[in-house]
Subunit: 419 residues, 2 copies
């Protein structure tokens, strides 16, 4: 029965309808360049919420919210007391974001509810769509706000006073946002979830490069950020001999040479990026007095992050003469390993549905990272054009979005039929 | 007679008077932080001109100007038709400059005229002080304006239309400036000069480091500037494997590693500086798409500049994959070799006067670089504190300024006694 039901629901995924919903959703906060500016709790974010609630109520689904504005759309199962199986992601975007980051997960899960209806499948567990509040964190920090609060790793009272760049307090913005969809029943934070699957665009080039349409995501890389400050001394470029210079850029160059070398792992799993790099005073005829750079370090295994941390600390200690250097940790997030059974279920359905794809780790953080602490969770990636996201040119193919939705449909159906 | 006369004039150099004149001159354009903002043709520059003319006329010297405002103060010799021996430098400063850069050369030469008077020496040739207009070029470009026009390498008509940042035209500013000292006889550009000696602060740390009080400057390093542009591709730091990255900063790092290595000359004469270095887009979690950096390259010998140029071109060609790179020349000035006889005369007097010092090359450009094309020329350097110049904290010791003035006094006297 599960096999047959999963296939039947997957077959009802409507590629054109799913694409159309993306285009309609993209009107909320749509930019002239074809992107989306739909920052969390903005007017556009409220309009997007009203739209998805309208679609849900139009199909007769039950809609609920919690106190931070996480939105839940329920297709009931036979057992009203069973914990739901949930798919979804987020509807907010970066200030110059695209049509697919976040929205895809919510719209794919909504497509699954409709496909379940159209296939005439009754599940044991409720199947739900979630839209977590404020994943991006571009207006109000921290990001992955709604999912973190659901998972109990952030407390609502601790963030209600946070302000945006214009001084608007989160509690006020939240009140106005919740008022766009009044009279919704309120869910408690942390209610039990039987399983959670989050579809998302890859935000990287691997699937497109390989010509594959889905990936089963088995975890999220650990991430550590460093800020490195090198202090030398400004000097006249024409008159100061090399022996008397304290050139902060030359020191930074020596450190980076060692670190780029240390980051050359055979498996190409380590992500080592120096993205911000500032040199002062920055005059062509002045020896640099100061360099500041950031290191963004990611790997699926904590041990590799520890090894590179050791390399960074060694370079900061050993390679800095005649300058001085100091490294500080700006962020630290250990690797997440997704639920083995949910991952295995996704892989079985990927193969049964004949979808080309691989297992991979997520390089970016997602709501699923937090939900994985309190429920069996995993993710699905679909390719996006040139790996670009967080940009107005972000793009994806209708057939890839549909492939990911079919995998989600079969998997959620399978999981929702289980005891 | 020359030996005796040179020693007698040097003995009359008055350290306290010379220092006092620096302090008085520093009032014109003086800044609260103790520096000087006396940009060329400014009101303060006009006041400085009026001051030196006042001192000169007070001592009965002949004062003349040319059409670009170069100022000449003459102590006549026996032979009115003989070409003069000249000492001097400039009175303009950087916007946040100090009390000594330029002013020292003019005031030291003026001190020599007074010392000649007080020693009762009659020379064969006239001895003159020059203040060249607009050496710094911070308000009106090009710098070394007056000396370049005297030497015929820049033509007055070609620069009269130049404007400053406020849109003021050079010809108007020049007219107002020349009106501060009306009725001066006008000299032609390019009149013959028997010898030119320019005293200046070193603007580098070598003399202070060595505990020496004067250097005989035998030339000016050649200088070549490059701009290097590296183009890669922005990518997500968490999701883009190393194999698919085109990291512009990593490419820049490889190029600079090779170039810093190539610049490690045994003699420590090569000056290789990357002073401006910009990385875009500059977000910690984005692989850099673009790097722009400048190279400031200086050496006494054209062959070494050619060798490093070859290295830069090779690095731009060979080390850039998977990015693209292009290097362009922004400036080019060949080395200047000062007159062997003037340099030898300075060295003889340095030794006879018992002054500690060395021969060296100038790392920075000076008015003397241009005068050397049309007359026998050389320079004297004196130490400045920590090698700092072009800064309000620029400083020098009264005894070092006096030592340089004694060397100038003896040398100009010697040269002015010759046929």
């Amino acid at each position: 029965m599960p096999v047959e039901a999963g296939e039947r629901v997957a077959a009802r995924i409507d590629e054109a309808r799913l694409w159309q919903r993306h285009m309609e959703m993209a009107r909320f906060g749509g930019t002239p360049a074809g992107g989306v500016n739909r920052q969390a709790l903005s007017e556009a974010d409220g309009e997007a919420r009203r739209q998805i609630v309208g679609w849900a109520q139009g199909r007769g689904y039950e809609v609920a919210s919690d106190a931070i504005g996480n939105l839940f759309i329920r297709r009931p199962g036979r057992d009203a007391n069973a914990a739901p199986v949930i798919g979804g992601s987020h509807l907010d975007s970066q200030p110059t974001g695209g049509k697919f980051d976040g929205a895809y997960g919510v719209l794919a899960a909504f497509e699954v509810l409709e496909a379940l209806d159209e296939a005439g499948i009754e599940t044991r567990r409720p199947v739900e769509v979630v839209s977590w509040l404020n994943e991006e964190g571009s207006r109000f920090q921290p990001g992955t706000m709604g999912a973190s609060i659901h998972a109990g790793s952030v407390f609502l009272d601790d963030i209600l006073h946070v302000t945006d760049a214009d001084g608007i307090v989160l509690s006020d913005a939240l009140k106005a946002y919740l008022a766009t969809t009044p009279d919704l029943p309120e869910r408690p934070f942390g209610f039990p979830i039987a399983a959670y699957v989050e579809p998302h665009i890859e935000q990287g080039p691997v699937l497109e490069e390989a010509g594959e349409s889905v990936a089963v995501v088995e975890g999220v890389q650990g991430l550590r950020w460093f800020g490195v400050e090198i202090t030398g001394e400004a000097a006249h470029a024409g008159t100061t001999p090399r022996a008397l210079r304290r050139d902060a850029l030359k020191t930074a160059n020596a450190m980076l040479t060692r670190l780029y070398q240390a980051a050359q792992d055979q498996a190409d799993l380590l992500r080592f990026t120096v993205g911000r790099f500032e040199v002062l005073p920055g005059a062509p005829n002045t020896v640099p007095a100061r360099v500041y750079f950031t290191i963004d370090l990611r790997h699926p295994e904590a041990a590799e992050i520890a090894r590179m941390t050791h390399e960074i600390e060694a370079a900061t200690r050993d390679l800095t003469a005649p300058c001085e250097a100091a490294a500080s940790r700006l962020a630290d997030s250990p690797p997440t390993v997704f639920d083995a059974e949910v991952v295995a279920t996704l892989e079985r359905w990927r193969d049964r549905l004949g979808l080309a794809g691989r297992r991979m780790m997520s390089g970016a953080g997602h709501d699923a990272m937090h939900i994985a602490r309190v429920a069996p969770a995993a993710m699905i990636f679909v390719p996006c054009e040139k790996g670009i996201s967080h940009h107005e040119s972000e793009n994806a193919k209708p057939e890839d979005l549909a492939a990911g939705a079919r995998l989600l449909a079969a998997t959620l159906t399978d999981l929702a039929l289980r005891d």
